[in-house]
């Protein structure tokens, strides 16, 4: 019989077709704690042990006077009464964060989850004596995971709040899986503030999107040099495991450290903005974002104010968006006249060069058709908007417009003969 190894090789090599070429590197088999010691010293850290398991602990501090982008580190610390309830209603019951707020971010061997995805680097950051302290736990090999989890448990147990960026869907469930893998109770049942959803509300118009690295450039004015792109992180770690060379993960550790500081800075900035209100914003789009934040938190008055400021200051697209949000908000407050006026402005600010109506314009036209039919009782105007809608829509919306036009026609011919109450509720749920 042909030998097993050559038959296996044949099968492994032939599929999947065109798969990654074999990674041929000097193979390195780390040797228990010696290897961990060496990695720790080369990375500039120390070892943490739990039983036979050890991981590398790396400490780094930014002092109070250090600058990060446009801000000094000392100014990034959240006050104990930070109004986090504005960002996440689940946190509104608690208003004192005086004990430790821990910023948390992990790096993993893959994004797809599952038992085989390892969090090889877990970073925690907190403020201490005005400075920002980052403590990271790094796995020299998978056997160090117990020690890593053990160390994290200690930190989580002393934390009053975890702050993450997308941690609700990624970092925390991934870590829960790791604790479950080791058949231990997960210590992550700490109040948790995920900064990603509020960041999306605040800066949804950011040109490069809402990734942490995009926002730190746009919002914080921080430019990283020689950053490791997120996509490269798993393969760098695999390379480290194969070669034992800590230099290949230096960049990853630095990346994680910066993510933590950026997260702290971004959170501080968001809290500051929410406190100061729209007058403190540098850009109209941020004012509109603040409006969304207030609106989401149920503060309609502050939201309306923010939208108005945004509508008075920005470029046409920002103004139109702010006006449309304002219009919806006003209608919910039964301020129908003002709402209609805001929709009117949305249409007036529409770009003239393109003939066709955009989605926002169609919403405006629909809102105005409803308003003039049911509130203002100006059937001629209502018909004008409905006619525009019919010519600019397709499918279901077009059918609706046709239906509306027929109804308006009936009303016009039987004007005064009957009340139109019967049709009112058909439009009421539109917002």
């Amino acid at each position: 019989m042909r030998d097993l190894t050559s038959r296996l090789r044949e099968i492994v090599r032939q599929k999947p077709p065109g798969a990654q070429p074999p990674a041929r590197e000097l193979t390195y088999v780390p040797d228990g704690s010696d290897a961990a010691h060496e990695a720790a010293s080369r990375l500039g850290g120390r070892l943490h042990r739990a039983g036979h398991s050890h991981c590398v602990v790396l400490d780094r501090r930014w002092d109070a006077g250090d600058w990060y982008g446009r801000k000094q580190v000392a100014t990034l610390e959240l006050e104990s009464d930070a109004p986090l309830g504005l960002f996440d209603r689940r946190l509104s019951l608690q208003s004192d964060w005086s004990s430790r707020i821990v910023f948390f971010d992990i790096e993993t061997t893959g994004l797809s989850g599952g038992a085989g995805t390892l969090a090889f680097l877990a970073g925690c950051g907190w403020f201490e004596d005005g400075g920002f302290h980052v403590r990271q736990f790094f796995l020299v090999g998978p056997a160090g995971e117990r020690a890593l989890l053990d160390a994290l448990t200690e930190i989580f147990q002393s934390a009053s709040l975890l702050v993450t960026y997308n941690g609700r869907t990624f970092d925390v469930p991934t870590m829960d899986t790791r604790w479950a893998f080791h058949r231990s109770e997960s210590p992550t049942a700490v109040p948790h503030f995920d900064m990603l959803p509020p960041a999306r509300r605040l800066w949804s118009d950011a040109p490069a999107g809402c990734s942490l690295s995009a926002l730190e450039r746009e919002v914080l004015g921080v430019y990283r040099l020689r950053d490791v792109p997120g996509l490269e992180i798993p393969s760098r770690y695999f390379q480290f495991l194969r070669t034992g060379n800590p230099a290949v993960v230096d960049g990853v550790i630095e990346h994680n450290r910066h993510d933590l500081l950026s997260l702290a800075a971004l959170t501080a900035h968001a809290v500051w903005l929410a406190r100061e209100g729209p007058d403190a914003c540098r850009e109209a789009s941020e004012r509109a974002g603040l409006g969304r934040l207030y609106e989401n938190a149920g503060d309609a008055d502050r939201a309306a104010y923010a939208y108005k400021l945004a509508a008075d200051s920005g470029g046409p697209e920002v103004r139109r968006t702010a006006l449309s949000r304002l219009a919806v908000l006003l209608r919910r407050q039964d301020r129908h006249q003002e709402s209609a006026a805001a929709w009117q402005s949305v249409l007036e600010l529409a770009p003239r060069e393109t003939g066709a109506l955009g989605p926002l314009d169609r919403r405006a036209a629909l809102a105005l058709a409803i308003h003039h039919e049911h509130r203002a009782r100006n059937l001629d105007l209502a018909r004008e908007y409905a006619t525009t809608l019919r010519s600019e829509s397709t499918g279901r919306a077009r059918q609706d417009a046709e239906y509306r036009l027929r109804r308006l026609e009936r009303k016009r011919t039987s004007r005064g003969a009957r009340k139109d109450l019967g049709f009112r509720e058909l439009d009421l749920d539109y917002g």
Partner: protein, 778 residues
């Protein structure tokens, strides 16, 4: 109501083509009392459902399971097999509410079916003070937001191997509660796990064992199987542990008549028989006229639709007839299927025409008659289909109508073979390297292998070393760390060896995907100008994009279908064993198979006339697999007094017949096996061998070799048993050919005369005679 046997007898009397009428005697029930230790709340719940004692086999199974012994239960349909596993599981949950159980069914529909029953029982237990027992299905249809609740609340999870493989095991930490408390794993329809699917399941269960070990549990396996020759061996191969066998059926059985019918020959010269579908229609109609509820099994989706149409036509005049005759097959929407199943149970549906979709344990009640249009392909499947008719009391009948396929003709002419033989062995090969490698990857992702860990029978450390060479794993900290970002289970499909496939795109009106075909059979069924059939609608392939794995088809209306001609070359890589001396020697071993679709034939519907052909130029497909082969020595060939062309026809005819007898001896589908004769072209999809019109006839080598190989990369374990069955194979093939009534070859033995040549039958017969004489002399 007329009793089934009267109708059966009448059909028998009228018909000279009934080859067997077998009476199966009724059997009384063997009861046992509930074991005293069985939880009183469970006993009470069962009593409210009219169950106040157990059948013997149920009591047996419960005793094994509660004593912690793995058990496999072999029972016919409608013998109360679900209680065999539900009772110990529910009892254990009542004793200790942290207990968890995992049920595996081969299809989602079966899990749904069982969910309803288990739910009812759990409710009754709740009424009896047993608290809340959570029973949930977890499969591809479970909504994302409901999955967390299932993980948290289910005492019993009903799932399938595919979901266990890709949804549960890779995420085992989320299921920690299940795995920590897993007391029972139930595998229903065990016989369905043979061949590739079974080999995959065996590996998934190896992975399950690893995960259970990690969480400190060691579940008891309870398996139920239809009658096969080796239920205990199959369970032990799949689970990797010793099993107790429970096969003393204690459920009562009514009297049953089993009829074999061979449609009359209408053209003796060409060996053409009356259409078996028309014959099936006639027989089913007879039963329906007498008010008997019937199930008709057809061999394919197409013939299911044809028979449904025929039967509906036959009942045209009767008011409301359209609703009493229904079709049933995969591809119908679940709601419609449930409606038909309900109609069968209530008796509103009088006749259902089905594919093997109803062969598995879906609850349709017990019917009066089961009519099989064509031999189901194995003794086990035939008994299973026959078992769909027959109540616990009263009479029932099963009728087998043979088609002209060789396997059908063999069985119908040898009823004693069918009734006397044990059913087939279900074979799996968990150590097929292709399958094993995929699952080692999945297992490495789930839990790192340790440096001294074992897995299956191969040396897994060697496997991991090879995987490490290609960067899949890396040895670190004394264990093998998974070194890929991807999630390996996604790339592994359980229903075939490779997850690669071709999709069929209908471009008649826009573009829409109407089907898919596995990678190996793609070129033979989707080549350009091929006719592709789905739900009775014909499509012609306009373009076959091999690299893009797509075929573009357009609806056509035509009266023929196509059959690909495949050129297959087999090279022997390694001979594992050989036997036989002198003129004929036979072997099994590892081979390299290169096949290429070189052309196709157009074959007219109904008459099966060859109405044209075409040539094709498609890429080769290659695989390593295992094979049985028979070598006809030059001396043997020299003793055959025919010219070379006739000898060639004879060898092709012999190979054709052997290849058709082989699935009868192994428990396998016809296309589990491939055939090659020294490089002579063989027509793929059909069972017809031989050279074809328009193709240059190839020369036979001086030492022709007939290869019957496992049609899966790596082999699935048919070759070695076939090697062991060589003498039976030759003897049965000779019976098939010599006892065939045709003059010079027909589709039922060596192939139709038009395809094989006038003397094929005579030469094949002579070859067999010489082979047997040589064996006898040796």
């Amino acid at each position: 109501m007329f009793a089934a046997h009267e109708a059966a007898a009448r059909i028998g009397d009228d018909d000279p083509h009934v080859t067997a009428v077998k009476r199966l005697a009724p059997a009384p029930a063997i009861f046992e009392l509930f074991p005293e230790t069985l939880d009183p709340r469970l006993q009470q719940a069962l009593r409210t459902r009219g169950i106040d004692r157990l059948y013997h086999h149920q009591a047996d199974a419960i005793a094994h399971a509660l004593a912690g012994r793995h058990a496999v239960i072999v029972t016919p349909t409608a013998s109360g097999k679900t209680l065999c596993y539900n009772a110990p599981v529910l009892h254990s949950i009542l004793n200790d509410p942290s207990t968890r159980a995992l049920y595996l069914f081969p299809t989602k529909a079966l899990a749904q079916d069982q969910l309803a029953e288990l739910h009812q029982l759990a409710e009754r237990i709740g009424e009896a003070g047993g608290g809340d027992i959570g029973v949930f299905t977890y499969d591809g249809d479970t909504p994302q937001d409901a999955r967390r609740a299932v993980r948290a609340r289910a005492h019993v999870v009903l799932s399938n191997p595919d979901m266990l493989h890709s949804g549960i095991l890779p995420h085992h930490p989320r299921w920690a509660k299940l795995f920590e408390n897993l007391k029972f794993v139930v595998i229903d329809e065990l016989h369905a796990y043979r061949g590739v699917f079974g080999s995959h399941l065996a590996n998934i269960l190896r992975r399950l064992h690893r995960v259970c070990r990690h969480y400190g549990s060691s579940p008891v396996f309870i398996c139920s199987s239809a009658t096969i020759a080796n239920p205990r061996e199959l369970a032990e191969r799949l689970v990797g542990a010793p099993f107790s066998l429970v096969d003393q059926n204690g459920a009562p059985r009514g009297e049953k008549f089993f009829l074999f019918i061979n449609p009359p020959v209408v053209n003796p010269q060409l060996g053409i028989r009356k259409s078996y579908l028309a014959e099936t229609r006639r027989i089913a109609t007879e039963f329906l006229k007498r008010g008997l509820q019937a199930i008709v099994f057809a061999q394919s989706r197409l013939s299911t639709e044809i028979l449904t149409t025929y039967l509906k036509d036959a009942f045209d005049g009767t008011p409301g007839a359209s609703d009493v005759i229904r079709g049933y097959r995969g591809g119908y929407l679940p709601l419609r299927r449930r409606e038909i199943e309900r109609g069968l149970r209530t008796g509103e549906v009088r006749c259902v025409v089905s594919t093997n979709a109803l062969e598995l344990g879906i609850d349709i009640g017990a019917l009066d008659v089961s009519v099989m249009a064509g031999y189901p392909g194995s003794i086990a499947a035939t008994w299973q289909r026959a078992g769909r008719a027959g109540r616990r009391t009263g009479r029932s009948a099963a009728v087998l109508v043979a088609s002209s396929a060789p396997i059908d003709q063999f069985v119908i002419r040898h009823p004693e073979y069918f009734f006397g033989a044990s059913p087939e062995h279900a074979l799996v090969n968990p150590d097929n390297l292709h399958i094993l490698l995929d699952h080692v990857k999945c297992a490495a992702f789930e839990l790192p292998f340790t440096a001294d860990e074992h897995y299956g029978t191969v040396n897994v450390q060697d496997v991991l070393t090879v995987l490490a060479e290609d960067g899949f794993v890396h040895q670190v900290d004394g264990q093998w760390q998974w070194m890929q970002e991807s999630y390996p289970a996604d790339a592994v499909s359980l229903r075939s060896v490779t997850s690669d496939n071709f999709v069929v795109v209908d471009v008649t009106d826009g573009e829409r995907v109407i089907g898919e075909t596995d990678f190996t059979s793609g070129p033979a069924t989707l080549h350009e100008k091929a006719i592709y059939i789905v739900e009775g609608q014909l499509f012609q392939v306009e373009r076959f994009d091999f690299d893009g794995r797509k075929a573009f088809v357009r609806q056509v209306d035509c009266d023929y279908y196509t059959d690909a001609i495949t050129y297959t070359k087999v090279t022997i890589l390694d001979t594992f064993a050989g036997d036989g001396v002198g003129p004929s020697a036979y072997y099994h071993g590892e081979v390299h198979v290169v096949s290429r679709v070189v052309g196709f034939k157009k074959i007219k519907f109904y008459t099966n006339e060859n109405v044209g052909s075409g040539e094709l130029d498609l890429p080769e497909q290659q695989m390593h697999t295992t094979s049985y082969w028979l070598r006809l020595s030059p001396e043997l060939m020299a003793t055959i007094p025919f010219n070379n062309a006739d000898k060639r026809d004879g060898v092709v005819g012999l190979a054709h017949a052997m290849r058709n007898v082989a699935p009868l001896l192994l428990m396998c589908d016809s296309h589990d096996l491939g055939l090659s004769i020294d490089g002579l072209p063989v027509e793929g999809a059909s069972r017809i061998g031989g050279t074809s019109r328009g193709m240059a006839p190839a020369e036979l080598s001086s030492e022709p070799t007939i290869f019957i190989y496992d049609n899966y990369p790596g082999g699935i374990g048919f070759s070695e048993p076939l090697f062991g069955l060589h003498d039976v194979l030759i003897a049965r093939t000779r019976e098939l050919i010599d006892e065939c009534a045709c003059e010079s070859g027909c589709p039922s033995c060596v192939g139709p005369e038009g395809a094989t040549g006038p003397l094929a039958k005579a030469v094949a017969s002579r070859l067999l005679q010489s082979l047997m004489a040589a064996r006898a002399a040796a």
